[in-house]
């Protein structure tokens, strides 16, 4: 230890992060929404499990449940869940270029191409599931 270090003991200043750090810039906010959206997805998964349980319980149980889920406030809540599900999907797809860069030899696929491929796959899969459900209903 040098003489100077002995003369002035260091008293470093330790700073704490604000609880609102995620409002500090837009990318932090998008990250926060991406992580927070998982709460809504978990809620919807629980909702589906309850729905299946009531379906198994019989027509009377399910009829009461059906009346409950056609409430306007419940539909509004589902719209919010859908919005967060979209945020979740799009923000995670947006991470693909960083997680799985594609290199062939020294050539690297542009990030936009990877993003477009991921989004394209998402749209095709969504349309396929939608068509399957419509076909099933008819």
């Amino acid at each position: 230890m040098s003489l100077l270090e002995r003369a002035v003991p260091p008293r470093p200043l330790r700073r704490r992060m604000s609880p609102f750090w995620w409002l500090g810039n837009l990318r932090y906010t998008i990250f926060f929404l991406r992580e927070f959206s998982a709460v809504f997805l978990a809620f919807y998964m629980l909702f589906l499990i309850v729905q299946l349980a009531l379906l198994v319980a019989g027509p009377d149980a399910y009829r009461g449940f059906h009346a409950f889920i056609t409430n306007p406030w419940w539909i509004a809540l589902n719209v919010i869940v859908l919005l967060f599900a979209l945020i979740h999907t799009l923000t995670w797809l947006g991470t693909i270029p960083a997680v799985t860069p594609m290199r062939v030899g020294e050539l690297e696929a542009p990030s936009l191409m990877l993003l477009a491929g991921a989004l394209g796959g998402f749209v095709v899969a969504s349309v396929a599931v939608g068509l399957l459900l419509l076909w099933w209903r008819w």
Partner: protein, 248 residues
């Protein structure tokens, strides 16, 4: 012609004066191509010689002059003062690190973590010098090239809220450097680094905010390095535990 001037606000801390940081405004001249570091040097040379900050090369190579400029981590030698025209120019010490004095932060935590990751080429058996250098093709070099430009400027740590909330996290630069060596065709030390890279407070603590890659002045892409290391860790775990004979 009247010389252009502007206000430079510096967040200061002097442990001999008390434990609270305070701000101090300085009037500085502005000239073409003036960087924030030039403004700080002007203050120290002409206005207030007590202002403490680190700098060395002035060309974005040494990584010493990283500071928080108007809320964002920047290399001050690469940050033009005119970029802040029309808004406050506030220079503060890099976020998330203990402040020693004024704009000087303590980065010992990073240095210790980096050392544990063995950031050098490891060979199981060194070949004699007479056999020549370890050769590498351009493709092999391209596999780690972008991770090899780290200058330890600490902007990525300052931008990382995960590190800010929990300093036990190994952090972006150290993990990017570990990946740089693990993907180098000349290196044989990935197994030695694996217990450090794959422990809970290393790659698995990263929640992929991605800001480390955004602020990196050298395009090192720590976020990519960490996510790729996670993928490799998960694949390795599956092979070791699920494939017969995979543990060898």
């Amino acid at each position: 012609m009247r010389e252009a001037r502007r206000t430079l606000t510096v967040v200061r801390y002097n442990p001999e004066r008390g434990m609270s940081p305070y701000t101090q405004d300085y009037e500085v001249p502005v000239w073409d191509g003036m960087m924030v570091l030039d403004a700080l040097n002007f203050v120290r040379e002409h206005v207030d010689s007590t202002l403490a900050f680190r700098w060395s090369c002035r060309m974005g190579v040494c990584g010493s002059c990283g500071m928080s400029v108007s809320g964002a981590p920047r290399l001050t030698c690469q940050d033009e003062v005119t970029e802040y025209d029309g808004r406050d120019l506030v220079v503060a010490p890099l976020a998330h690190f203990p402040v020693i004095r004024d704009l000087v932060v303590d980065i010992d935590d990073f240095m210790q973590k980096l050392r544990t990751l063995k950031p050098w080429l490891i060979r199981k058996q060194e070949k004699p010098l007479s056999e020549g250098e370890y050769r590498q093709t351009p493709t092999q070099r391209a596999a780690y090239d972008h991770h090899a430009s780290c200058i330890n400027c600490m902007l990525c740590y300052s931008a990382c809220p995960v590190y800010g909330l929990d300093t036990k996290f190994t952090g972006p630069a150290a993990l990017a450097i570990a990946r740089r060596y693990n993907t180098d065709s000349r290196d044989q030390g990935a197994e030695e680094r694996r217990p450090i890279v794959e422990r809970p407070e290393a790659v698995w603590t990263c929640t992929f905010v991605g800001e480390c890659s955004v602020v990196c002045p050298k395009g090192v892409q720590p976020a990519e390095a960490i996510q790729r290391s996670k993928l490799q860790a998960a694949t390795g775990f599956a092979i070791r535990n699920l494939v017969p004979g995979g543990a060898k």
